[in-house]
Subunit: 314 residues, 2 copies
Amino acid sequence: MNKKFAIAIHGGAGTILKSTMTKEKEDQYVSALKEAINIGYKILEDGGTSLDAVEEAVVSLEDCPLFNAGKGSVFTHNGIHEMDASIMDGRNIDAGAVSLIKNIKNPVRLARKIMEKSEHVILAGDGAEEFARQFNIEFADKKYFYSEFRYDQLQKALQSDSIFLDHTELDHKFGTVGAVALDQMGNLAASTSTGGMTNKKWGRIGDTPIIGAGTYANNETCAISCTGSGEYFIRTMTAFHVHSLMKYGNYNLDIAIRKVIHEILPSIGGDGGLIAIDNNGNVVMDFNTEGMYRAWKKGGENGNETENESVLIY
Amino acid sequence: MNKKFAIAIHGGAGTILKSTMTKEKEDQYVSALKEAINIGYKILEDGGTSLDAVEEAVVSLEDCPLFNAGKGSVFTHNGIHEMDASIMDGRNIDAGAVSLIKNIKNPVRLARKIMEKSEHVILAGDGAEEFARQFNIEFADKKYFYSEFRYDQLQKALQSDSIFLDHTELDHKFGTVGAVALDQMGNLAASTSTGGMTNKKWGRIGDTPIIGAGTYANNETCAISCTGSGEYFIRTMTAFHVHSLMKYGNYNLDIAIRKVIHEILPSIGGDGGLIAIDNNGNVVMDFNTEGMYRAWKKGGENGNETENESVLIY
């Protein structure tokens, strides 16, 4: 096996302050990121598809209570959990997404099922759950998503009537998770999943389920998964913007992302970050916040490099 | 007054067959399009904003039972009406959108209120209606949206278990409505509104409420409103794609749209059309279907042209 392959994941960007981070907590995050990246890497190493790799890496992050997605999802204003997710196949720019779903254990699995088994791209709310039932997607009850930590976050947010992304006053963090991968067949894929914002009202939809905003994959250029202040990522079409700069502006991945994250997003007040892989296996992980939980791992031809994996927070 | 200004509107694209069109019906469509375009034109002529012009033109089309938006919305599988709409301000790329709303008389008014009065871009379902109530948006009951014609369409669709965009067997039509405008201050705006698909299931969200897919406006380039097979418009980011080709590929409006409508969309099986205005007042209306209900009207410097308005179907 000598084809390049690579995977990158993130567990959200934001103000991750060293002062509020203990060694024990940091170890937990690093270990959760390592577990997720190794699950995806193994699939790629065994010759599996980038789609499977990003799906299983995101499932691993959704199952971890540390991240604001799946099990660790934050509470909405009404004390429920409303989750969004999306997945995209760079081979044929096919895509699937879910929004405002309440009782699905792994939203990314439902997004993939929509991509493969329906004529649609985005399904939302009760309708999406009806689709899930027909296709034997695993449900989970309110108890599964409950945690005291998230419930306390809601109470604080309710007191100040603020809408919070996943955070405390000192720890402003966008707790979305995501993965991008290049497989040995040369195919790219991307996936993103989120539990939204603490105290979220009014059926707000962020960038995560919006193809081109929070998630994009196209074998012609790159695969992207974003995390940040979703409204700004929608207005600038962040993920597709990187693709456009590469395809029509002849930017490389690195420069395209620098422009989007450090010029275009900040010009309208947007903060956050993204992870990306181009069709040559180059990985870029960039953000305009203080930190982003992230990791990458490369194999095949890339394995000859001195360093072939990395887990980072700040 | 000698600044250029212009507005264009559409009432959906698709297989509009002359064989199923009577003179009387054609007159009705032409008259409805004329009414809507004149409402928008008057606002621009009086020095009003492109935002007001596109909102009021779309309201006029939403109030007309001929088009699949607002009052004329088709029935979903469950016999209800689920509407989507969006609006975008080219000055500051601010945007608002609603999805899966049931009881709002004019979805475009709610989209604009979200843009101006919330921190969000997209609100959906019951949550969006809760927001609407707080901001005194006009509601309408089931009776308002009922028509025998639309109900019969649903019965036919249920019999064959097909998901239809607004059509009969002979008349396959995407009944979305939209407007784009350039005002005398040089600002662009775009808006789109739809009643979705007859027999629509599972809380499907199409391209209409997705900024960058069905609607986009940016003073740097152009304003766009799309109509067609929404899933393909999402996957190709149709509206933002035109912007990208102009901004990063140095295409002019005409060639950019030709590429998107006649190359990129058909390459994955997408059909439909769009209307657009660039920041110099050029209007382009293009589609890869047999027809698109459409009209444009120009004033100011443009008024010197021999022809300064046009209403077309085929």
